[in-house]
């Protein structure tokens, strides 16, 4: 009898390929006749191109063409909506600026020319020869004084994600509350900075007389990119083919900003050869998306015994002049605690800065940080243990919608987390613990992630040699998608994992949404299962009709798949292998598609994952340096499909949250809007020496409502919660509240001096 593959700590099926250099990433495809593009970008943040002199660039060795707004192919406007997500307008997810269409400049680093040459080196050199003069206007760089300020209605236009909400009467409840607290929290601009920079290769051909575009891109949404290309270039969707079998990390980037990809297609069109554009690291700070800075005001009202009576969370978010993207900071506040009067608002200022986009835990990471720090401040105010305060406000149903949670075991997370860190053994008094030169502090935070699920399709092919192939247009971001979808498919087919392959990252495959929102497992898992069931059902039909089959004449219901065979449920000895059925039918293979989507359960329940994060820090008072001594988290994320890849997702997310807490920040010059930090020596992400041995545990309790698999997503929850746990630990260590991310030594020193 086969053991279930899901739930096993299977090694990454693509691990060996990756370490051997066999996994082909976008920039590594080698097409015959490939030419190379390089960007010349705007030195100013606002204004117009006055003149653009490309003569020297054109005459440089190897140059094939220089595209500027004067000669570049025309594009159609960015569509209003793709795949159900609002693209344009306030709250829209993407940058709407189509590249090289006019002389206007919305931010520094905006592409203004593409130089195409026979080699990468020639292209990059020639790009430095493009001379641009400007009519410069004073950029708008200050949220408070920005001339375009709006109140976006909904995040990405989703009716489930309103950005301005009032439940009950938070204002009156705050006024009446025996204990009140109002605090302002600020967070810096941060960048995803995956190891693999954005890259695109585009090739045009004529097929049956029509234009046909093949694109290799670092996208985590082949289907979305296909639609964007088709709409922008005025092509039928079928004539655009997007390929991306491997992604070297995304963390929210590579999903929603299309200028570099479109520029590659435009350049390829002009030179009549395939073209590759790979962004430089510096360009990742202007054209690849970012998490915008935020200023958040948290107002809490509570009774003396710690029952929350009011919670108001107001966010000042910022976006570019060409995007309506709004960091949805109330995502945690809107659901976490049982509070009768709940309000949140999002205020958006448009600035002459590069466009933001989702970044791991969009809204949750910095919004949850603000909320969980405010809750910690309230605990101090009430002289309550921070865990106890949270337990007193434990929500059994969603406070905004009133729906019960599909599955929530947060109490166990709190309990286990306290054990792991030794919570009870600490001296709860702030600034009471010391080791050598360091102050010691403990902090905790609740964490969560919305358990989204979307519609997706997959195709399963059973081969006459007993093997199977399952395919869907989803992605491998380094998260383990190839591995767990192979496991899930193997179980659905009752085959050993070695006999099943999973393919993804190709727009020709059955439809799947952009990978994001920690929804991939919950979305593609059921789709793969459905396709496998369809394929088995087709196979059953062949057997049922085949007089030579031991299953001849049975009803489909009376047959089940077991150990690579179809057998009669009543008598498992009566049956045969898939291969035998196909071979006798002289079929090399049989294929079927399946589609799965969430249903009515979404109306009945509120779907979330939960967790509790605990941190112990050391603060060197003399220098303001913070080091994390221990970081432990316990997550309730439904059933784990693969505890090993899940663990990697958790600890990776926690390390990223640690970076957000202590060091990640991109500074823009306040006068001219240029990124001042533009490389990985100056933009700090945690090094090994910054990350302790992280302990991440999962309860592994299946969610009975999300899908038959019981698995919710896990990609982002590690990043959420960690910044607040660390910030709260810094308070416990020092007695000082720091309300500005990241907690760099300069800020610590300033706080400690006060």
């Amino acid at each position: 009898m086969l053991t279930e593959a899901t739930g096993q700590p299977l090694d990454r099926v693509d691990g060996r390929l990756k370490v051997m250099g066999g996994a082909r990433y976008t920039a590594e495809w080698d097409l015959p006749g490939l030419a190379y593009g390089a960007l010349a970008t705007s030195a100013i943040a606002r204004g117009k191109v006055r003149a653009i002199d490309v003569k020297a660039a054109q005459q440089a060795p190897g140059v094939l063409a220089v595209l500027t707004y004067l000669n570049a192919p025309r594009l159609q406007p960015m569509p209003d909506k793709v795949g159900g997500s609002l693209f344009r307008g306030e709250g829209g997810i993407t940058e709407t600026l189509q590249p090289l269409q006019d002389a206007a400049i919305a931010y520094a680093g905006q592409p203004l020319a593409v130089v195409v040459a026979d080699t990468h080196e020639h292209a990059r050199y020639a790009a430095t020869l493009v001379r641009i003069t400007y009519d410069e206007a004073k950029p708008e760089l200050d949220r408070a004084t920005a001339s375009r300020q709006t109140l976006p209605e909904a995040f990405t236009g989703s009716k489930e994600e309103p950005l301005q909400v009032t439940v009950g009467d938070p204002k009156a409840a705050l006024a009446a509350a025996p204990v009140k607290l109002e605090r302002v929290y600020e967070s810096a601009i941060t960048h995803h900075n995956p190891i693999e920079q954005l890259a695109t290769i585009a090739r045009w051909e004529k097929r049956n007389g029509a234009d046909y575009l093949t694109v290799y891109d670092t996208t985590r949404g082949v289907d979305t990119l296909q639609e964007v290309f088709a709409a922008s270039l005025n092509l039928p969707k079928e004539n655009v083919h997007i390929i991306c079998p491997f992604i070297g990390g995304a963390f929210g980037s590579k999903g929603w900003l299309y200028a570099p990809a479109l520029l590659t297609a435009m350049a390829a069109r002009v030179v009549g050869r395939p073209v590759k554009i790979e962004l430089r690291r510096q360009d990742m700070f202007s054209t690849a998306g970012q998490r915008g800075a935020t200023r958040q005001t948290l107002s809490l009202g509570a009774t003396r015994d710690g029952k929350l009576t009011a919670l108001q969370h107001d966010t000042q978010a910022q976006s570019s002049m060409v995007s309506g993207y709004t960091e949805p900071c109330a995502r945690v506040s809107r659901m976490m605690y049982a509070v009768p009067n709940l309000g949140f608002a999002h205020h958006l200022s448009h600035l002459n800065l590069p466009s933001p986009c989702p970044m791991r835990g969009p809204g949750e990471t910095v919004g949850g940080w603000a909320l969980e720090c405010a809750i910690d401040e309230l605990a101090t105010e009430l002289n309550l243990d921070p865990v106890e305060l949270r337990l007193r406000n434990y929500a059994d149903k969603n406070p905004e919608t009133g729906k019960p949670f599909s599955s929530k075991h947060l109490r166990e997370c709190y309990a286990r987390g306290q054990e792991l860190i030794g919570w009870k053994a600490r001296n709860p008094k702030p600034r009471s613990m010391r080791e050598g030169n360091s102050l010691i502090g403990y902090g905790m935070a609740t964490t969560m992630y919305p358990a989204a699920r979307r519609e997706a399709s997959a195709r399963t092919t059973l081969f006459a040699d007993g093997r199977a192939l399952v395919q869907s247009a989803t992605h491998e971001l380094g998260n383990g998608a190839y591995t767990i979808f192979r496991q899930i498919s193997a179980d659905a087919l009752a085959l050993p994992v070695e006999n099943v392959r999973f393919e993804l990252g190709d727009s020709a495959l059955p439809k799947a949404p952009t990978t994001g929102g920690s929804a991939t497992t919950a979305t593609i898992g059921p789709a793969a299962t459905a396709a496998c069931q369809e394929a088995l059902s087709a196979l059953k039909q062949i057997a049922i009709r085949d007089a030579k089959s031991p299953l001849f004449g049975a009803t489909e219901d009376a047959i089940e798949a077991r150990d690579g065979r179809l057998v009669r449920k009543a008598n498992a000895a009566q049956g045969e292998t898939y291969a035998a059925i196909l071979q006798r039918a002289k079929l090399p293979s049989i294929s079927a598609e399946g589609t799965a989507k969430p249903g009515d359960e979404r109306e009945q329940f509120s779907f979330y994952s939960f967790g509790a994060v605990f941190a112990k820090v050391r603060v060197d008072e003399a220098s303001g340096s913070v080091r994390v001594a221990q970081l432990c988290a316990v997550y309730d994320v439904g059933k784990l499909m693969n505890p090993q890849t899940a663990h990697s997702q958790f600890i990776g997310g926690m390390a990223m949250g640690l970076g957000a807490a202590l060091m990640e920040a991109t500074h823009y010059d306040a006068r001219n809007g240029r990124a001042v930090v533009r490389n990985l020596a100056d933009y700090h992400v945690p090094s090994m020496a910054d990350t302790p041995d992280i302990i991440a545990e999962a309860l592994n309790i299946p969610d009975p409502h999300i899908s038959a698999l019981g698995a919710r997503g896990i990609g982002e929850i590690g990043c959420v919660g960690t910044p607040a746990a660390i910030t709260n630990a810094v308070f416990h260590a020092t007695g000082q509240r720091l309300r500005s991310l990241p907690l760099t030594p300069d800020k610590l020193l300033k706080a400690l001096a006060s």
Partner: protein
Amino acid sequence: MHPFQYQRAENNGQAVAAVAKNPEAAFIAGGTSQVDLLKEGVHKPNLLVDVAGLPLRQITDFEGGVRIGANATNTEAAYFPAIQARYPAVSEALLAGASVQIRNMATMAGNPLQRTRCPYFRDPDQPCNKRTPGSGCAAIGGYNHVHALFGASEACVATHPSDLAVALAALDARVQTTGPQGSRTIAFTDLHRLPGTTPHLDTTLAHGELITSIDLPAFAGRSHYLKVRERASYAYALASCAVALEMDGPKIKRARIALGGVAHKPWRTPAAEALLAGQRPTEKLFQATAAAAFADAKPLEHNAYKIPMGRNLLVRALLETSGLQPLAGPAGTAFAASVGGMAGQVATPN
């Protein structure tokens, strides 16, 4: 990247001649600083003369001290027994800098000649007098978080980023060179310049002057390096300091202090050093010393934090060097130098 010719140096004389006769030529050794700047479009030489293959890699005893060949790697020098034992500040400064991979490539001459980490210097679309003389200084009035407290000018407020240079300044190292005008010895403290009106010149080396060795003079005291950075490893110093103390029984005979991350060159503090001479080490004395060292600091908009940080750091370095407080890790290692230590339950292995 600007196109350039590449040439392997045949010998010292040929290398010097090749660069000296061409104002657009430059040396390259490990390349860890040079190549970044080529790619950023900050340096645009038309000829690179690779000196890494020249036989300048030995580390030898020399006049009671140690002579370190220009091409010895940062790693080789850091772990060289006589250096780690007798000049731990040098090993600590090296090992608290960059990453293993970079230190394996980086050379002892290249390290003090790396250029500022002022972010504006690295962005050709920003004004910067150091990169493009006369274009202005974007850091003044801009984001000047990592900039200078001492010795800056209206033309440039950059700091020198090398950790090694700070230790070498405190130890009064000497630099041997051979150049178009022959060979000479330069006191390490005279190698770097203050920006003045010529911030594009980092050092007093002539164009084409080749460093052949760095010499540590005989020294019988204790030395130590401390560094604060925004992450636990692989980051430049926000502030650092090197201390060299020679004792006479219970008293300090002579003290030398160099501050890092606060000026265009390692910043020696003669007034503060004088306070220590002839005194018994006490925390109070060290507080007064630190106050004196930073008395003339002139902060910019975003770097005032370096004053308390630098003072606290110097006090700690003096306490640790004089033995009033234990080192945070074994002498001569990154663990002794890294303020805050590593993440995890145990800050430093012993």
